[in-house]
Symmetry: C2
Subunit: 507 residues, 2 copies
């Protein structure tokens, strides 16, 4: 290895360590930290992220990347899948982005996001959009300034710049085309289902569920999917998430609703999907920028594959039903496997995205994507957002929004300045269906394994095709390699219709 | 505030944030982290401590300290107790020390400590001193090289250099004089007590204690001493400790022995003493090097004051006994308050320092201090350590050491390169007795409050006299300010004799 590559690796390893330290500060804040420490923790996080930014945008990194141009070529010629060539490529991409952002703007984006978040908590509690509006305006203004930094990059839509931060190489026009197709499939399907709403009864999921026994259930299920205490944690958090500080330290969180078993169980399986991705990155990529998921869409494909496709699929629900009967015999003694399978697959238009089923979920996302795009283009005045939101909820899902707390104010993302993020959730659903199609073709025994609660073969398959590569390949190339084509709507639409047709007796 | 002071404060605040992030990495490692993450966590900690060292020894800090010489004088003239003048003084002291240590030596000290610790774990398990010897030799050699860096400082004893890192301004000769006096008091006292060993029965502390109820007991007791969930945590750790990441985030750990209630209860009260010191530092000193205890001896005075002087004193044991009767009615229903008081004050020579009572504890320390001093001076060959250890155990405590695991290999400190540390434990005992004498004189109602389980007045007194100052004053000056004299043996010796005389029926 050249001295330049060695130095680059050393610098990146230290930056990775600092990033993991910041990750721990954040995990701790959401799971362990005493409440009064919030202000000092914000300072600690601010200091660490400033140091990470300074170290990564250090001109020395640029100098090393320049020196390594020839070596990158040579490495790739010798081995098109060279880890080191990929490391140089990804570092160059990240560095080119990061160095354009002046420190003042980075600090101001962080600050406005923090203030926006606080204002949003209050505004949502009082359903007061007007109180939140100035903070949203500030966030959008700063995001527009951020977009301008990339004016010479030749984007087609200003939103491209934001989208690319979450989903490398994805264009707004491509997402719009996918979403047009998805919406055209979902709107009539959901309207059909809504007319047969009574076909499914979700009552089995509701009742009185002791938190300790919920935890026992969740640990048992996750254990079958690859969770083990020597390399993982499971804790509680108000807003569940997954994180990791290296492949041997993956931390999931979930939430225990005493009257609804779906919250902890499916929430934990969802986060387990994220966790398996992080845990599965090849050890050789550790302490580099490659040691993470390739994009948010691909990450979400993993959480949704395990939560919805596996977790709500007929084989695995048979296993889950057995676990529920064992842990909650009072509640599930009289609920048969079919009733449980039906309950976890109920589809119904609803107001809140994070509570939406896997069919209506896409429409929640399409609505947000469309509004974000107009916000950044300046074609929608921010003060008119609630009206636009409510109109689209009626058009796509056929429901009326009673107040902004249950409408435009429901999500945290915009308050924190995260604009361009939402579409990756729906892309994840699409990719998950494509991966599932492929896995079924390649793993003939899969259904039987899942029916027995055995996730090992699917986990190994995903590990081999996807997880181990980390960020080595651009997301589009990675999808192409695994499923033999680009991200597409049809596999998801087919999957959904195939599942819902017998459940709802559709024509 | 001058621009130079402002810049210094900003730099120190960021270093403090990084130090707290490292503190969290370490806390997490000992309480939460999955085991397989040990190696990656060591790398993360290494990176952070390297960055802290680099940032603190940055020549810019030296330049600022130079520029601030006049300002420091002026600040101190205007107010002898100026926070800013103290900040400059303490930063200069720390900087002068840190900048002398070449990065290679700092890295090597850390590395040898890590390797030594691993070797020690194995060697202790097999009671194999020979296996540990090369690692100890390496640690001592590196410490000697460290001492040489300060050759121009004019120390009287090479050990002074090491001692000063833990106890600012304390000389080896001063400790030796205190310890000579302490040993002369303790050896005959303990010999007397040992002849009446049967006078006290410690059986009430042993039994079958459910861990959840132990936790309930401990939380109840700590709550009376100032613990509250909004600014504190209490977790389990194999080797209990206290730490903090700012005054609003103090974290204690304890250990639950299912057959001995003294472990969790007195361990937690001990750590609570440390925690109260950290929590009590004035908010104005936050995010500076002043935001910590003034020395290890003073820190230990707080843990031992609460654990031994208060926690094993007659008034507070009355309260504790009531709590025990409430939480463990089966065990303590038939044990009266006097029997409990006697049990927690049993004195008996024993092999293991961390299990020693408050009387014999000092002799364990004196033995280590004397051996360390000879190790650094080179007057004791390291291979002869076990023999020297065992001889002194016989001389001071009258007991035979069966094997090195219960002798020279019992402590973690030397394995990690922490040489010069031990004496602060005994200094803490001495200071605690001096503080107690003073507090009793100034708080006439103290015994009645403690008997009612109310620690508020003592906590407030310690907060006002000691805690709020953090590292503002040199430890010797601070002791002088509070007790009106230097660290002394007599108050501790008097306290001990006054307690043990009626308990053991001494002459």
């Amino acid at each position: 290895m050249s001295a330049a590559l060695q130095e680059l690796r050393q610098r990146l390893a230290e930056i990775d360590d600092l990033g993991n330290a910041a990750g721990l500060l954040s995990w701790d804040q959401q799971t362990m930290m005493p409440e009064r420490a919030n202000a000092q923790r914000a300072e600690q996080l601010g200091t660490l992220s400033g140091i990470v930014h300074d170290r990564f945008t250090d001109p020395a990194i640029g100098r090393l990347l320049g020196e390594l141009e020839g070596e990158e070529e040579a490495l790739r010629s010798a081995d098109p899948d060279s880890d080191d060539a990929a490391l140089i490529r990804v570092t160059r991409r990240d560095w080119e982005k990061a160095r354009r952002v002046p420190s003042e703007l980075a600090v101001e984006l962080g600050r406005a996001g923090g203030l926006g978040h606080q204002a949003w908590v209050d505004a949502r509690a009082r359903s007061d959009f007007a109180a939140f509006l100035p903070f949203l305006e500030r966030n959008v203004e700063l995001k527009r300034r951020y977009v301008e930094l990339f004016d010479d990059e030749g984007w087609d839509d200003p939103y491209d710049v934001l989208l690319d931060d979450y989903e490398e190489g994805m264009k707004t026009a491509e997402v719009a085309a996918l979403f047009d197709e998805l919406r055209a499939q979902l709107v009539p399907l959901i309207a059909e289902v809504a007319q047969r709403a009574d076909a499914i009864d979700a009552a089995p999921l509701h009742g009185d569920f002791d938190a300790a026994r919920q935890q026992q259930l969740v640990r048992g299920v996750l254990g079958r999917l690859g969770w083990s205490p020597d390399g993982w944690r499971l804790d509680e958090a108000a807003h569940p998430f997954a994180t990791s500080f290296g492949p041997s330290d993956v931390r999931l969180t979930t939430r225990y609703d005493p009257s609804y078993i779906g919250m902890s169980l499916y929430g934990a399986i969802h986060e387990m999907g994220h966790g398996l991705y992080e845990a599965g990155v090849a050890p050789a990529l550790a302490r580099t920028p490659l040691a993470s998921g390739a994009s948010l869409g691909l990450h979400e494909s993993q959480s949704r594959l395990w939560e919805n496709v596996v977790g709500r699929g007929r084989p695995f629900t048979g296993f889950l039903h057995g676990e529920l009967q064992r842990v909650f015999p009072d509640r599930f003694g009289t609920v048969d496997s079919e009733a449980f399978y039906r309950a976890v697959n109920k589809v119904a238009p609803s107001l809140i995205r994070v509570e939406a089923d896997e069919a209506t979920y896409g429409l929640h996302i399409i609505l947000r994507f469309e509004l974000e795009r107009e916000m950044i283009a300046g074609t929608l005045a921010l003060k008119d957002l609630p009206e636009a939101w409510n109109a689209r909820m009626k058009e796509y899902l056929g429901i009326d929004v009673p107040d902004d707390a249950h409408g435009v104010l429901q999500d945290v993302h915009w308050s924190a300045g995260e604009i361009g993020y939402f579409s990756t959730y729906a892309l994840g659903n699409l990719i998950a269906a494509q991966l599932w199609q492929r896995a079924q073709a390649e793993l003939p025994d899969l259904d039987a394994q899942l029916a027995a609660g055995d996730g090992a073969a699917l986990r190994a398959w995903l590990g081999d095709r996807l997880h181990r590569h980390g960020r080595k390949f651009p997301p589009k190339e990675l999808v192409q390699r695994i499923v033999g084509g680009p991200i597409a709507v049809q596999p998801f639409a087919d999957y959904l219709r195939a599942k819902l047709t017998p459940l709802y007796g559709l024509g």
